[in-house]
Structure formats: structure tokens, C-alpha cells
Symmetry: C2
Subunit: 254 residues, 2 copies
């Protein structure tokens, strides 16, 4: 099979109209047939949520520089609908992004971008998320093409291990290199901003300060700050294997 | 510190009014001071989503058999708001549930219940999720008290390893015992149900068939089906450590 026959599903959580997804579609079209199935509005922070209380729909978006469908749902809805109702066949690759905002360390868990990647991975498809270390909608995306191409090409050619997907984060400055990383230990120290609302009384806007606890050489967040592309292999199995044996001794009643 | 001084935060994704959370609050009140901070409406399938596009608010719910606050947000919003704006101090334990529906295997990733548990865990607090192997709102909850008490008591006394939380799932039949498990490999085979909607055209209701690929003895889903309480230790670090070294050889450019 030549590259031109590969089928590549692209999604994101910023919406089908974002600059990041356009760049990703542009690069991916060099590797195969690209179909974009993405939310019709911004879905940041939606994590792995699915729409179960109402039906969802999709429509073809004309006047786009790529084949594109928008969905009135979450990134995970997009992947599910694409695989089952939109794509002509099972894709060879699911890619999400380029996200406007870092999805390293603890941010992974809130990310709609990485949720779409986990969903593709759970369906047994090679899946990669790409994110930029900046929330700016105007961030420069010109220097990431070759990195995206090389990583996606590598994955299309060699595959990924079963149950493993990639979380790729780009620095905003000149790239020094590429590092395979682990998810850095970090947390958000919430600082809700309270406001008086006429009807509701006191309301709270979620805000927070990011706290990085792990600054080791291969911690993803650190690598990005040091201007490396961080590739963090991730898995959809959340089992804490390192404690399985000791917890069996502690809790088992068989 | 005696048990009566322990502070226990309880949340869920079914809403503060659910039978499951009432049962959990009842059992937990034997272990310390219980404060319930839970969604004001059902939030199933919301995973780790957070509310960032509008402010959230909470209110005290009177006429409840426990101290209770409802939040117009997701389970993760509840934990964040509780820790920062509602509780008098950092809790000794975060518990979520009892969820009406199984949160074993791949369901973990969609679960608002387990998202709340992951959030507590990321904040460095011992956290446990409890779920029933039935979506029925009328499911019998009478036989789980002692198991919940024992597991929570054990965790309050001995703690959990850093970055590790517990995902506990109950069978619906008579309990044979307790097994520490791993997350079973499984996936949902989606079968969208399509309908014609006057305004929207064709719309799709998410539906699916559950496929269990892993039926080994310690697979959580299998253990529950075999009438064991399944305790799956989980972690908020999604790194696929098993492939780190080989992927570094494959992708590193340093």
C-alpha cells in the first residue's frame, strides 16, 4: 500500500475552523487521504466526555481546503461518529490537534485532544495528539511541519504497540531536538475568581496556577520548556501495576 | 486523630439526590465528618471535563440527611470547588459514588465518578470510587455497607501510594469475596441509532455493544461478573513506561 492510499482521520477540540487543525491537515495530506471530523465549536477541557443525553449530528463543511465534517459534540463523539458513520473505512491513523495549548503532564487528563487520541487507541488504531505550548490563536505554526510529518510517517510505517498512543507537545521557540518523555508530575493550584451575579449570587470562574513537581530531564513539561519536542507514549490502561501485588495482599478476600 | 475528626468529601456524577450517594454518605458518616459536594443534575459520561466557558456556583441543600452542597458543574468541578471554596480544610479522603453503573475496564475513561477520584488523587488526597454493576436506580444497595466501610477504613488508616487511587466495583448478586484487579482490556462497538429530526436532518443517538477482550482471572470486569468486589488500583500518570526505552531509541533526536 502506498502512502496515498492511507486514510487519516483528523480531529481536535478547538473546532474544525481552527488554525491548528488546518496546519495538521496540510501536513497529513502529504501522507494520505485526509478526512477532518471535528467539533463545530470549541470543546477545550471536555476531556473524554461523550454526549448521551441528546442525539448528535454532523454536516459537511464546504469551502474548506480539506474534506471536512463538523459535529455538534465532543472530540470523542467526533471519533466515534467518524469511525461508525462518516469514514469509508477504518482509518490507518487518528491524529488530533494541533492544539492551541500545552497537553503535557497533568493537562493530559483535561484535554479533549488527548481524549480523541485515547479513543482512537482504544479502537486499536495508531493515534497521535499534537499540541503547542501556547494558547495563542496566532502562535507561529510554521516550524512544526517536518516534525509532524516525520513522527506520523514513522507511526504509519512501523505502527505503535498495542494500547499505546503518542502525546506530542511542541515548544514555541526554536526546536533543539526531540525527546521521548514521561508525564511530568504536576498539579493545578486552583484559584477561583469569584464574582457577584445578580440572579445567581456568588459565582466562580475556574482559574489556577500550574505547579510542576517533576523537573527531571525526561519530564515532558520540562523538555518542552527546554525547547525540545516532547513525545510521551501513553496508554489507556490506568492500572497502577506497580502496587498490584502489595494491594492484593492488603485487600484480597478470596 | 480519632475517626470522628476525619474529614471526608463525597461526590458523584449521578447528582446529589441519587440513592447511591445517600448510601455512601450513610456509611462514611461512621468514619468521620461527611460533606457532600455533588452535581445538581446528572453528569454521567462527563469524564474529566471542567467548566471553563462560564462561571459555576454552589448552594447548600437543606432537608438532606447529610451536609450537602450542589454545584452547577461537573464532578471534577465539584472536587475543585469543594477543596478551594467549600470545605473547612483539606479532606482526609475523597470518595465518589456509589455510581449507578459499572466503571470497570474501558468505562473508567468515560466516567465522571472516576474523574472525581483522579482529581482527588492528583491533589494528593486518598481517593476511592465506588460503582455498582447495574444502571438501575432501584438496584439493591443493602449488601455493600460492610465492604465500603472496610475498604475506606483501611485507606484512612494506611493511606495509598503516591499517585494511586482505587476504583471499586460491586457485583449485583451475593458477593463471593474481594479481588484486587487490573483494568480489563475491552472496547465499545458503537451502534449509533439514527433518527430523522425535522430541523436537524438525520441525528444519531450514541449506543454500543460492550466487547470484553480480557477475561483473565484478575480482569476487573470478569471478577465483577463472577460476583467478586473488584478493587482496581489506578494512577493518574498515563505514561506507557514499558515502551519508554524502545521509543526513545526510535524517536529521540537530541
Amino acid at each position: 500500500m502506498t502512502n496515498s492510499q492511507k486514510l487519516i482521520l483528523i480531529t481536535n477540540d478547538d473546532g474544525f475552523f481552527s488554525r491548528g487543525i488546518a496546519k495538521l491537515a496540510e501536513v497529513m495530506s502529504r501522507l494520505g487521504r485526509v478526512i477532518v471530523v471535528a467539533p463545530q465549536s470549541e470543546m477545550s477541557g471536555q476531556s473524554h466526555s461523550i454526549t448521551v443525553t441528546r442525539p448528535i449530528s454532523f454536516k459537511a463543511e464546504k469551502d474548506m481546503p480539506f474534506e471536512c465534517f463538523s459535529v455538534d459534540g465532543t472530540p470523542v463523539d467526533c471519533v466515534k461518529l467518524a469511525l461508525n458513520k462518516i469514514l469509508p473505512s477504518k482509518p490507518d491513523l487518528v491524529v488530533a490537534g494541533i492544539n492551541h495549548g500545552c497537553n503535557a503532564s497533568i493537562n493530559t487528563i483535561y484535554s479533549g485532544t488527548m481524549a480523541a487520541v485515547f479513543e482512537g487507541c482504544a479502537e486499536g488504531i495508531s493515534s497521535i495528539g499534537f499540541s503547542m505550548f501556547s494558547h495563542s490563536k496566532d502562535v507561529c505554526l510554521d516550524f512544526v511541519d517536518d516534525y509532524i510529518y516525520d513522527i506520523a510517517q514513522n507511526v504509519l510505517t512501523k505502527g505503535l504497540d498495542k494500547g499505546v498512543c503518542l502525546n506530542v507537545n511542541f515548544p514555541i521557540a526554536e526546536i533543539k531536538g526531540v525527546k521521548v518523555c514521561h508525564q511530568a508530575d504536576a498539579y493545578w493550584n486552583e484559584e477561583f475568581v469569584s464574582k457577584q451575579d445578580g440572579d445567581e449570587g456568588e459565582v466562580f470562574w475556574l482559574n489556577g496556577v500550574y505547579n510542576l513537581r517533576d523537573t527531571s530531564d525526561r519530564a515532558d513539561y520540562r523538555a518542552i520548556r527546554d525547547d525540545y519536542v516532547a513525545i510521551t507514549p501513553m496508554q489507556v490502561d490506568f492500572t497502577a501495576y506497580k502496587v498490584l501485588e502489595s494491594y492484593a495482599e492488603r485487600f484480597d478476600k478470596i
